[in-house]
Symmetry: C2
Subunit: 235 residues, 2 copies
Amino acid sequence: MFKRAKQSRVFQDVVDQIQEAILTKKLAPGTRLPAERDLKEMFNTSRGTLREALRVLEQKGLIEIKLGVSGGAIVKQIDTDPLMESLALLIQSGEVSLEHLSEFRIKIEGSLVELATERATPKDIEELERMQARARHCYDIQDWESFLKTDEAMHTYIGTMTRNPVFQFVQKSIHDNIHRYYQDFLPMNRERTLENLQDFDKIIAAMKAKDGVAASATITDHVQRFHDKMTGKRP
Amino acid sequence: MFKRAKQSRVFQDVVDQIQEAILTKKLAPGTRLPAERDLKEMFNTSRGTLREALRVLEQKGLIEIKLGVSGGAIVKQIDTDPLMESLALLIQSGEVSLEHLSEFRIKIEGSLVELATERATPKDIEELERMQARARHCYDIQDWESFLKTDEAMHTYIGTMTRNPVFQFVQKSIHDNIHRYYQDFLPMNRERTLENLQDFDKIIAAMKAKDGVAASATITDHVQRFHDKMTGKRP
DNA sequence: CGAATCAAATGGTTTAACCATTAAGGCCCA
DNA sequence: TGGGCCTTAATGGTTAAACCATTTGATTCG
């Protein structure tokens, strides 16, 4: 019925006030907050307490703190970085395994590609083709590391094509985390790389034809193959 | 090519050391860290700086701080709460709208229910039926608020049935955030509530029959209807 | 004009003290 | 004996004042 009455922590009140001002756009991104020695007066608190509040806001990704004269706390444009950091913590702690992530990816990436196909602009297709050309070049000179980077960039770009920040975050966090631990268990080789290239050829062709179902099917198969290799299954 | 050399901030070093110890399980959940006045000696720093570090770790969800004698910093079991908080910030700031979230939900919740159906135990089904009975009771006495709570609990429970923490987080965060802003635009009424009940009857029946496809189809339709109402479309 | 130097603003750190909360033990009195 | 009250000590929360380190811009000098 009742929640524990919150123990009053001064710094928490400061955090709440500044956060409220940022979320309601009373403080726009780019705005510079007053200096610590001024803020401390405004909130009628001490500098130590005020700094604890700023530390929390910084950790939440709401402000950024710069050094030197004309430095100080600057209101940031909110982004998904704190979300990504939290997810990385969950993975590093073992609460979430790469198998969990990969299973999720199998279920979601098809829908994501389908949505991206619906909303793809000619510019998007051009951009993907540029990236695919770069990937092919990496394959030719057998630069696997750059190939992986390009591959990740293509997946992430398809996420942005959905024009939905939720899909964008999901796609970015999946690939960011999968690739971060990639080489631990999945060495790159010529054969797998070629498969990747061919899959993306198919996907781009399907996107051009506005065939979301085909694009979806191709990527789902692509992802399933990755998952099977990772979990040690062999066809 | 190069990243800016990190400006040395003492508190950051303290954060990194403690975080490392927690993630590598050198400090197990439940462990109590030494008192601030002792930690400050160990890290050879001041109490203010040390407290900034503790504040960051608390914000990350890695420790919890209790007051009084035998209080102090206690290592927490990592969970998805910080992730949820970050997402809530994105939504409150308007970076992510409820339409975005709802569109995502349409694509994912079918797969999620399918997976839950595959992995459902008899106990899971029993639990769902208990919840459904409670929802029906709320409907009978026209207690819409409790009905919504039960509805959310059922969706969240289906998330746990996947046995995959990624799906669990996704499901929890979607419904947590959708319901938080629910009444702003979607007033509950007798008709919609009855639809909800009937949908869940179908889903539970499909789960009993291990018919993942039917369960998936039902929930997707359910979610799509919700989305259409929210975005103002009428069939 | 350009480079070196200096000065001021600002965040980062340290120290020392005091306040507030909590748990535990002891004391008093019925 | 038992229950309630008080004291005490440990611990986080807060304050204050000073100094250090970094950055920027103005000033000075060759």
